[in-house]
């Protein structure tokens, strides 16, 4: 499998078949932005098919996060593990998936250094398609991670009051936000020179963003200055919205807040990413 394939017979370029290939047919019309993005999404799926190990981070990592924090804080914070789980699960799902979005930047950084991106960039297709498609592929990974956490949660005793519909809507909202948030990492993936520095910056941003929020505890007990931060932290609003949807107490205000911030993130960081991509 890993051995280099040797050629069974010597290949001799044949003028007839090559000429036929070169002369073949009329040129098809340029694909639409959507169709080009979906094609790049298909590329991401093919890469998962050929390198399935890359799913480790969307399966093992979320399981670890869920188990760790449920049992670490469960007894101390809510008196019982099952009780805490009802509060924690939507939050730990958001934390895990948002943390996984950083691999979009890391992946792009390594991918773009390979020659194949030179070819993509000389194709007359909608420019953002290669990046949008890559994020489409990542959305599948986000969905997988969310599903894994949900299953672990259900096994441990998570009983969402919002029912299957509420849970699905919550996951959907999380994935929409993660799509938008991924553009932050595509920007860093293009801006920074090495994979390691992308990782480093991601951690610097993600740790405060996820921990200084309402994921693990209600912000009431925090000092005032910290509460100010958690109030404006988009993760807080995302967790509140997802919790509401899953527990059957959906809050239209929080959901709107999340959708608006997703639109703003996409507009700002999508534009910055494309500027860098075009200049690279």
């Amino acid at each position: 499998m890993t051995a280099t394939t040797t050629e069974p017979t010597t290949y001799t370029p044949a003028a007839e078949s090559l000429t036929a290939v070169l002369a073949a047919g009329e040129q098809p019309a340029r694909p639409s932005a959507w169709s080009a993005s979906v094609t790049f999404g298909w590329r991401a799926l093919l890469k998962i098919k050929h390198v399935p190990e890359q799913l480790f981070d969307v399966t093992a990592f979320p399981i670890m996060m869920t188990l760790m924090f449920t049992y670490l804080f469960g007894g101390a914070l809510a008196g019982s593990v099952t009780e805490y789980l009802q509060f924690l699960l939507p939050g730990i799902m958001v934390t895990s998936v948002v943390m996984i979005t950083m691999y979009t930047g890391v992946g792009l950084n390594t991918d773009i250094q390979k020659g194949v991106f030179d070819r993509f960039r000389t194709l007359p297709v909608w420019r953002p398609a290669a990046l949008v498609g890559a994020i489409f592929g990542d959305m599948l990974r986000y969905f997988l991670a969310a599903t894994v956490i949900l299953v672990v949660g259900l096994v441990l005793g998570f009983r969402p009051g919002g029912g299957a519909g509420g849970v699905l809507l919550g996951i959907g909202l999380l994935i929409v936000f993660s799509f938008a948030f991924s553009w932050v990492w595509t920007m860093f993936g293009l801006l920074l020179r090495t994979e390691k520095s992308v990782m480093g910056v991601s951690m610097m941003v993600l740790f405060p963003l996820t921990f200084l929020s309402n994921v693990f505890v209600e912000p009431d007990t925090m000092p005032g200055w910290l509460r100010v931060f958690t109030e404006v932290n988009p993760i807080t609003h995302l967790v509140a919205a997802c919790r509401g949807l899953m527990q059957g107490t959906a809050d239209a205000g929080e959901i709107t807040w999340v959708l608006v911030s997703a639109a703003v993130l996409t507009a700002v960081f999508g534009t910055l990413t494309m500027r860098l991509y075009n200049r690279k």
Partner: protein, 321 residues
């Protein structure tokens, strides 16, 4: 000279304080192979990347079939294809998947893209390897899938950036054959290479680039003629007779005669104005005089100047012209 496929004027690209491309003027006639020859780091790849719209020039102009690379990048992209120095296909995907992916991106429907991929794989002798990941391909196969990907849509201009670097002689010959067939179909090929032999074999015109500048331009024949009529290469049996032989040939030929690194070999450079016939006469005079002096010659050859000699004469500033 007919229509120009590529035209650049004063093209410049600066990386920090390195002027990678420092004012290049090119005029590439349509339907030909144009060789861009230069050592590593001469600026060949940078120039090609600007022409393929991958890098923005810092100065000057570049047009592909009249379309400015800065102002009309999409029009340029519709006409060009690039086969980069490093494999520009996805190593994790199979050969077939790569071609279907690119076919879809060019606007083919799923079925048409699959058919086109199969047709290309067969034409490039890769049908058996269609479902293997490209990272398991040999060097020659990888280069072929790369070129196949570049002609998925027949380009008007094909950039081949060092297409045979690192290939064995057989794979190199295969690439050369493929290039000849592609050009015969009307595609213009801009080929960068550090192999003089390759430029000589394929290109109808050559630009020699060094330190980001064009230091010579012309047909292979013109470039060779600019260095002189050729050289006489002599190998003696006895190294002790070499200094005598050098002195003798200097007198007989009035030419520049130098010892080679090999202790029994020497080279006489014939002067530039000599025609081929005169060169042959000089050779026979030289051989006869060596025989009369009792110097035993093992090997005697009259050579046309090679592009290597042209290249060294042009790039090595230490050697006087």
């Amino acid at each position: 000279m007919g229509e120009l496929a590529i035209e650049t004027a004063g093209l410049v690209k600066v990386f920090g304080d390195n002027r990678a491309v420092d004012g290049i003027d090119l005029a590439v006639p349509a339907g030909t192979v144009y060789g861009v020859l230069g050592p590593n780091g001469a600026g060949k790849t940078t120039a090609v990347r600007m022409l393929a719209t991958l890098l923005r020039p810092d100065g000057g102009e570049a047009r592909v079939f009249g379309h400015d690379v800065l102002r009309e990048p999409d029009a340029v992209r519709r006409r060009v294809s690039l086969t980069g120095q490093y494999a520009s296909v996805d190593e994790d995907l199979t050969g077939a998947e790569n071609l279907v992916l690119l076919g879809r991106l060019l606007g083919h429907h799923k079925k048409a893209a699959r058919e086109r991929a199969a047709q290309l794989l067969a034409a490039f002798g890769l049908a058996d390897a269609a479902d293997r990941q490209v990272k398991n391909y040999s060097g020659g196969m990888r280069r072929r899938i790369d070129i196949a990907a570049s002609i998925l849509r027949t380009p008007d201009v094909l950039f081949l950036d060092e297409p045979t670097t690192g290939l064995d002689p057989r794979s190199r010959n295969q690439v050369w054959d493929i290039v000849r067939i592609i050009v015969a179909q009307g595609t213009t090929v801009l080929l960068t290479t550090q192999y003089l032999d390759e430029a000589d074999q394929l290109a109808s015109r050559i630009a020699v680039i060094d330190h980001g500048r064009v230091i010579a331009e012309g047909t292979p024949g013109q470039l060779k003629a600019s260095v002189g009529a050729g050289a006489i290469h002599v190998r003696l049996r006895d190294a002790g007779q070499r200094s005598d032989a050098i002195g003798l040939l200097r007198t007989v030929l009035g030419a520049n005669v130098q010892p080679d690194p090999d202790p029994v070999a020497l080279t006489a450079q014939l002067s530039g104005e000599d025609s081929d016939r005169e060169a042959a006469e000089q050779a026979s005079r030289a051989l006869a005089s060596l025989a009369r002096a009792g110097i035993t010659v093992d090997n005697f050859a009259l050579g046309q100047p090679t592009l290597d000699e042209v290249f060294l004469a042009l790039t090595d500033k230490g050697v006087a012209a």
